[in-house]
Amino acid sequence: MKRYIVRRLLSLVPVALGVASLTFALIHLIPGDPVIAMLGDNASNADIVGLRQRLGLDRPLWDQYAAFLYGLAHGDLGRSILTNEPVARLIAERFPATLELAIAGLAIAILIALPLGFAAGANPGRPIDLGAMSFAILGISIPHIYLGPLLMIVFSLDLGWLPLTGRGGLSHLVLPALTLGAALAAILARMLRQSLAAAGEADYIRTALAKGRSRLAALVHHGLRNAISPVVTLLGLQLGGLLTGTIVTEIIFSWPGLGRLLITAISARDYPLVEGCVLTFALTYVLVNLVTDLAYALIDPRVRIE
């Protein structure tokens, strides 16, 4: 297990290199100039040239790339063009907010998906199945940009239960997390329903029933454990979507996280900040997938990690 974890952690190095190189290439390919974005229309040529020199943007691209990789190898993500602050510090300030939102979104997704998927999977073809899956389709279909304001109108404006925007206590977290987690909840619920319905037909359930266990007890004790593995696999795959979903959710709810920082950085062509944010998102995704893989071994005794 230890060797496996070390091997997977080592694989982060080429992943980081690949993501960093691709991001570097893409952000430099798209049109736009950070110096003009900073100095504005009225800037003199001398100021433009001066700032470009100061920021090192006058150097050949390969030279900038080499400097970027050198910095990265030394754990230095550079300084933001926009704010002149270390990129690592800016990311460290914002990442907890995004992580908090993503974890809350994940928790809400699981909290919704488990009972919904179980109820549907344990009663395939019945009205409860139809109702749960219709709800799930709704969850997948409604985009964040629509669901967020809808939840705000109901829970903040009409009921007055929850605050509209911003980051504060637990109450501030509910609506953005619900917005973020709704689609994932729907996807997970559908997968759980499918695999539980299939498990319900399996021999080991029939055996349990023959031994006198109720159908509910058989499904909970035997069916669910078998049915949950594909759900965990899917969860790992969908976490990327959850992370990128934070970008839209953060904008809707004025949540001061990494997603908003990334959007600001892209608009200002703040190259080091864009590279740092994308790298953080990518490495988080890879790490979360590693945790998901490790979770298989805990959930399913047939899986052995070597």
Partner: protein, 506 residues
Amino acid sequence: MMPLLLSAVVGCRSGAGAPPSGYLQVDIDTSPLALDPRLGTDAMSSRVGELVFDALARVDEHQEFAGDLAASIERSAPTAIVFHLRPGLRFSDGRPLTARDIKYTYDSILAPGSLSPRAAMFSELAAIETPDSATVILKTHRPYAPALTLATVGVVPYGTPIVPHGAAPVGSGPFAVEAFARDDRVVLRRNPYRLAALGTPRGIVFKIVPDPTVRALELAEGVCDLVENLIQPDLLGYLQRRPALAIDRFPGTAYQYLAFNFRDPRLKDLRVRRAIAYALDRRAIVDHLFHRTARVANGMLAPENTYYFGGVTTYPYDPARADSLLDKAGYPRGASGWRALAFVYKTTPEGERLAEAFQAMLGRVGIRLRIRVNEFGAFYGDIQRGNFDLMSLQWVGISDPHQYRMVFDSRQTPPRGLNRGAYSNPAMDRLVETGDSTLDRAARRAIYRQVQRLAADDLPYVSLWWQDNVVVMDRGLEGFRPYPNGSLRSLADVSRGPRAHVERGP
């Protein structure tokens, strides 16, 4: 499960993020770029900055320059303006504000390598003299009519270095910066050294809310007190039905235009430009897309401006005339109804609906418009490089007709200036140069009458509309005075009458 979770959370609904008692909350869409007035030239930096920093002069509610730190202003010579400072001026940390601070502010902008985008604005400035601690003289290289525009920079204390995106310097305005969390909020508190009327706000929280629908919802819920010009017109009806809110509209000076790229030989043909102007039903766009929150424009200067001249050629919606002009220009309709004219229109996601309206209207006269949507950085890069056929943008805060020189002088093409369509007409160049150096107001007005007539005849821009200033605010707020340029300076003087908000308990 969900109701249980919700009730648990609602039970601990926190007040985190709510403005402190006695503070106003104003929602804005983006973070100010910099809170140092020498660095921040974007709209939000200006809006927030003018509440924190005083300048020698500023544009008042009537679009005229008036003294701010200066009690009186006199032109002692064609190249010199004298500012006599008000007595007893102080910064918000208690330091006295004198002519030395003002000179330092300008010197720090003009210092080599200062990185201030304002440095280029001051190319006409020859010297700043301070004969005593209460007098400042701005001297220009030549007689320069718009010299007072040089006097609108916020003043910082002597010795304050320009640090890109560092902490906000101290100012002498009605408020001081208490906190700035980028992408979250800017908090201002009262300047203790400035008198404030009873009942006026103790501070202002500028909250950054990027989503326009959410800004409307914050107003509806009563967490936000005021939003200016950042509510989509189609949401105004929804807010109008809220008894706790008041919606006021005031004539604004923000000018929307359609620019042509004169590098394209087809667009150098005046008949094609005029045909496009006649093909656009601006009234319909104002009525339906903007819900009548704009006035159809006939030039860059709004009627409120003292230099405005209305007797210019206008282009009412007339597709038949557009058809005829295009036929004469050598672009007859083909069998399919289209002409051999296709233009690329560059815009941002926010401008997409307008682009589609243009596309439909030009389609009616047989012109194909290909819309290219990019996020602002890429769009702006294209505009700077002249990589467009048609594009539409807005000039905000025009107070002096000097703007005509900035955008229509043939020597002002990017990267040096704002003539992005590379328009060139020697007659226009001569007029705008003379306009800059003519100090006599009546003579200057006559020059700009000619400029406005020529701009309307020659059509480097199609004038579209002047955007109204639309303020949605808590009905209980009293004393808000609108500025045509959208300034929020009067927030310092508002007071809260009987509170109209629906109070919500935890």
